[in-house]
Symmetry: C2
Subunit: 162 residues, 2 copies
Amino acid sequence: MAAPLEIASSSPRARQALEHAERLCQERGVRLTVLRRRVLEIIWSHARPLGAYAILDVLRDDGRAGAPPTVYRALDFLLEQGLIHRLASLNVFTGCCQPDRRHGGQFLICRDCGQVDELNNTQVECLLNDEADARGFEVLTQMIEVLGRCPNCWQGVTHRAG
Amino acid sequence: MAAPLEIASSSPRARQALEHAERLCQERGVRLTVLRRRVLEIIWSHARPLGAYAILDVLRDDGRAGAPPTVYRALDFLLEQGLIHRLASLNVFTGCCQPDRRHGGQFLICRDCGQVDELNNTQVECLLNDEADARGFEVLTQMIEVLGRCPNCWQGVTHRAG
DNA sequence: GGAGAAATGTTATCCTATTGCTTCTTTAAA
DNA sequence: TTTAAAGAAGCAATAGGATAACATTTCTCC
Ligand SMILES: [Zn+2]
Ligand SMILES: [Zn+2]
Ligand SMILES: [Zn+2]
Ligand SMILES: [Zn+2]
């Protein structure tokens, strides 16, 4: 798989996501510490989702001392605050596009390039909630991961093949 | 979490699932070897999904020599044949209720007791496929995991609390 | 029977995640 | 302003999940 691309930290989407996070944390009275903020920045600064150890490597490049718990605790915080999602099928973490609204996350994940697209289909969410209700099941969180190939990747194959 | 309950290997659902698997593999011209069959049996013989190492422990109790690759290879085969699913959020494996029809799997997973209920909501499946189509994304497989509490578990809490 | 393919055995290692405990920092009360 | 308590981060060790690489066995087909 291709290595995750680094994006300028000051990219519009990263800056916007960080400002949004600052605001949310202030509203909620929770602390977006330097470390937590930096981990969020690292996640948003890459085109593809990163694993915990990849994030740790970046932290070490920063010069910061670090062991796995350092990054996992920051990730736990960001997950609790709904600022990031964990993609269980890949053991990676990706920034949430709608951190205001609590949700489990719906993702299109490209098997070939690792790129991720977050959906927000409330109809799907409701249908699943209905299914759960019908069985007396109390829903805490939904996670939907659709694995496949993004346009770039399958078009590349098509061109080569035909 | 509660330990996974062992169920008699000859329980109706286990026996039925194994017969179904035998038939499918024969039709498909693939080999359901003794090991693969036994792993499938172990999975169906437990009330809750098992992790790979838990399955390995059972194999060892059988007296069979075994290392992780032993069980992972069998699991890979069963996954390829759609006879089991992997629940990525828990790193466990569970038997598929509809191995004829290829599908990623939709699950209600109880956070407290680990019990799993497989859904087969085609409307959800279609909606997600539509979302993917609209983005030019080629779907290979969908995985849906709804985490929450089963009736038994939240009713227990309700009784205790109120 | 013999060649090639498929499956399994075996060992070592990698990747992911957590536990337990210590130290530092922040917060708020005295 | 000191000080206690809580929260966050540092640190070392370890648990848990999965794979790589290679040897050996078993099966299939000629
Ligand atoms: Zn989101
Ligand atoms: Zn792609
Ligand atoms: Zn199924
Ligand atoms: Zn339960």
